[in-house]
């Protein structure tokens, strides 16, 4: 049960994200223990997992980064909306609108991709993008490993 201390840093973003994400997944599974059959249920579940991944990633990073702050704020807003009973049909606005920025300019495209990038200057944007990319890669790694372990 206890992770081997040799291979992990206890306070790295990756471990924090992994713990947070697994916890969120666990709670999601507890909430919906029944095996999903219909695609709608699975889709909703997928969205929830994605949201959980984003939230755990942002919370692992903390509030020192602008993009994590933006993600946390957005998730909070979405949660507030969900508490009111509104169900959002669309996916993440950030992602659905990702491809539109190409024609306008590269920086605009990047702004739309990086959460919270709309209000940054280019210098900050690049900084945040670098950090965001790092975090995304770790997120992808962790999630892939989780999928790997779960599926076997």
């Amino acid at each position: 049960m206890t992770p081997q201390p040799l291979l992990m840093k206890p306070n790295s973003i990756k471990t924090r994200f992994a713990y947070g994400f697994l916890r969120a997944l666990n709670s999601l599974n507890k909430n919906k223990p029944s095996s999903p059959s219909s695609p709608k249920v699975i889709f909703r579940r997928c969205r929830m997992i994605k949201l959980a991944a984003d939230a755990s990633m942002a919370s692992a990073v903390g509030s020192r980064r602008a993009w994590s702050r933006a993600v946390l704020c957005k998730i909070r807003c979405q949660r507030a909306l969900a508490m009111r009973g509104r169900i959002r049909s669309g996916g993440f606005r950030r992602r659905s609108g990702a491809g539109k920025g190409f024609g306008v300019g590269q920086t605009d495209g990047l702004r739309k991709l990086v959460p919270g990038g709309g209000a940054m200057d280019l210098c900050c944007l690049l900084d945040e993008t670098a950090h965001y990319i790092k975090c995304l890669t770790t997120q992808v790694q962790v999630m892939r490993n989780i999928v790997d372990i779960c599926s076997t």
Partner: protein, 539 residues
Amino acid sequence: MDMGGTDHFQQEKRNEDLRNYHSTNLSSDWPIGGSNLTNSSMGSIPTTNPMAVCKGDVMESPSCSSGPSFCPTTVWDHPTNTQNLGFSDINLQSSAGASNTLGFRKGPLSIERTLDMGWAPQNSTVKGGMFLPTGPGMIPQSLSQFPSDSGFIERAARFSCFGGGNFGDMMNPFSIPESMNPYARGASSVMQRMQEVFVGHGLKSVSSGQSQKNEVNMVEASKDVSMSVELGATEGSPLKNERKSESILRSHDEAKLGVGVSGNDSDEAEFSGGGGGGEEPSSSKAVGLKKRKRSSQDNETTKDNTEIQRKGDQTPTSTTNKPSGKHGKQGSQASDSPKEEYIHVRARRGQATNSHSLAERVRREKISERMKLLQDIVPGCSKVTGKAVMLDEIINYVQSLQRQVEFLSMKLATVNPRLDFNVEGLLAKDILQSRAGPSCTLGYSPDMTMPFPSLLPSQPGLTQTGLPGMSNSLDALQRSLNSQLAAMSGGYKEPTQVPNMWGEDELHNVVQMGFNSSAPLDSQDLTGSTPPEHMKVEL
């Protein structure tokens, strides 16, 4: 005493409401003075004192209206007042505890009251005319307040509390020149002491009427007088110092009074209120409401003051305390202020030295640094030259990563039921493997194979039907990373498409469309996450 206490509270409230201490004090002084005069004339001083107090309190409510009615009495008292002035002058000039005590002893309450009575009207009527020539004139005013009652005493305390600074304010309506102020202050401080002493006398005489306490009060009064003398000596200092010292002295007096009275809770409360006013001259409005806090504060202050008295160093400590704190704050602020960041930029030869161009250059340098950092992070970006292309690469990479997260979450959604069993165990394994796992994002194809067999039993038909479309998607997969992701998203739709709505033609279009089409599709592709991988594995 209780009456006095209640009246005092009411008066405090009134004062708080009106906030015009001058008007209230003067008006209140008049009625009291009138009552006192009548009392003195009657000769029944001790018995009528409480009555006079009550009257004064009652009269105080219509303060403005009552003022003029008493004016004639004040005029009538003028000769006595002048005499009183002379007496007060003597006291002040002598500034010895003996003289004050003598005054007290002679006519413990009546004489003082008469004096007060006479003065209050004079002040109101003359309005500074009397004050300007004679500083002692100020004293009778305060005295007039003193004899009135505990309520008046508190007022007097406030008066005095405010008085240090308020005297200046008081003086302003009276049009007294500033040069007079120090003298007036000294007088006011002395008067305050006197007032307090008188108050102590009045309270004790009324409450207990015991001679012993009076004697104690007398001793205290002498101390107070000495204190006041010291204050007068130190009055050359600015207003604030005077206020503080006065407040402290008041607290001293109050502490003494509290010691002397000690049995009367109401008196203590009143004194505490007065002490609060003394401590916080600016916020004297809320004195009545916040008596408890102030009482506690007053206790502390009184203790401190008693200690200070024993030491004999009253004024210097009082004056230095608050200023020292202010200085400390200022020093801290001063220390904080110099912390400012300076960016040293040097222009080379031929470069513009304009501040804007310098800032622009700094910004460009920063951006190039960040771009280099990003170049290291984003795979395949090191070869690219040109920022625009690099930005494109970065955008593509970020998009691909986001897609991957989406895709993995989808996979987790389908796989999840198994996750219930071993989440706890996963915590250990997962992190370890994630650390040891493939660092490159492209290596997901081996991972992808894993979920497939598990899903096959659940969706056998879907995968088989999806095969033809998958081949098309596979072509797209081989193009590039980004196209791979797009194809994956397109490939997912095949299984869903078979049961639901999507056609193969649309699939082709989707694959060819690439990212733009995949973005809207993301929300709709659900169950088929595994089939494309399966296809990939097979191919």
